[in-house]
Symmetry: C2
Subunit: 273 residues, 2 copies
Amino acid sequence: MERSVFFISDGTAITAEVVGHSVMSQFPVATVTHTLPFVESEARARAVREQINALAKQTGVRPVVFYSIVSPAVRQIIEQSEGFCQDVVQALVAPLEQELGMAPDPVAHRTHGLTATNLNRYDARIAAIDYTLAHDDGISLRNLDQAQIILLGVSRCGKTPTSLYLAMQYGIRAANYPFIADDMDDLRLPAALKPYHDKLFGLTISPERLAAIRDERLNDSRYASLRQCRLEINEVETLFRKNKINFLNSTNHSVEEIAAKIMDVLGVSRRMY
Amino acid sequence: MERSVFFISDGTAITAEVVGHSVMSQFPVATVTHTLPFVESEARARAVREQINALAKQTGVRPVVFYSIVSPAVRQIIEQSEGFCQDVVQALVAPLEQELGMAPDPVAHRTHGLTATNLNRYDARIAAIDYTLAHDDGISLRNLDQAQIILLGVSRCGKTPTSLYLAMQYGIRAANYPFIADDMDDLRLPAALKPYHDKLFGLTISPERLAAIRDERLNDSRYASLRQCRLEINEVETLFRKNKINFLNSTNHSVEEIAAKIMDVLGVSRRMY
């Protein structure tokens, strides 16, 4: 039977989701999840408590509740529910209090909120998203000196999601450049990219997976044929090797893993938002 | 003095980052952070331990280390460092073991990795990103029946980052539609959007902040003038009210907060990736 799991917070509930998801993934158990953000008032907390209790009654098993709430009064209402309640942050705050020699000073929305002190950083993040969209798929090769990362690869190998993820999560200006079928006869690194060798990173993918992805888009086309996919991947990997460009096979990796690997290999520092 | 903080993991280190960042944000202390993903081998763990110890020696204060590593041998090497080490997941796993009545079965990369069982969901996420890019800024009003959320607002009020965040983090197909200056004389909800009232959500922003953002893009233009920004915001908010469209002022909110609020108000369920 699936276990009900709640992620509850007075903010976005992202922390509760990430921690709770990570903890639950340690166990071989199927879950049904409910995320409840912005539980800031006692009235909403009471409604949430009713929801938890109703589900406990209905399923006969108490739901697991991962929560993070600053207000003691609101928090207490959730803790009084019939769920199995786990504060996702508190367990780590207590030991740190001693280590840092200072009392915690919790403020709601500090983790994923916008404040005067992080507004400049936030603007930089939005600028990175703008930059990345303007340099997606080789649309523009101007201002590549401003890129922190330039991804290379064939069509539909994962360049766009990876670039956008880097910009969105880490405020990184990530351009990307596609190698297209017409280039394959005589594949070379474009002259415009050569000055930026230390920012270049290649993505590759298994021909079978690429063919499946392309077939979704253009059914039964030459573009999606396994033969064409094999040829392109082969040419591009040869180019990466010849030009000593780091590359990664994205086939079995999520966009999170690909992004983390690229930042790690290129030594680009990660900024949290 | 700034405190050094490490986020270390055998995977992407996203969980360690999110938890550690959340815990540190409870304290009024400045930090310098280092994220070290893919610490999978004992050799790399030993190098990381040296890095921590060197920093401890150099600063005279032990760094705070948030970590999550499955392999006991690798984990032990980090725990033997001179950092103040906190396992970000373990503290919550033990109590849950009892509650679930089963032993944890930890597997590296399960949290943010790609497996046969989540590949379909992953494809849906990439499809959502494709959809969102194809329906950014009113580029296409086709297939709006497939949208889960349609954002409305004036140019540069935050529609694009919010749509992309919804697609990237939650696999939501989010279209967005811009009201432009030429429409302002007689602002109406486009007929193409009317059938989708329950998916519509408006974004608004303070005229001062909008003018500052636009000025970055087009310095000293009519487009960026405070007068023009005031007029557009005023017209659009009137339209939202008249058409009973939920809306949010994005001025003081991060994209995480805006996205969480929209999903909450529209009742769109959140899927974790």
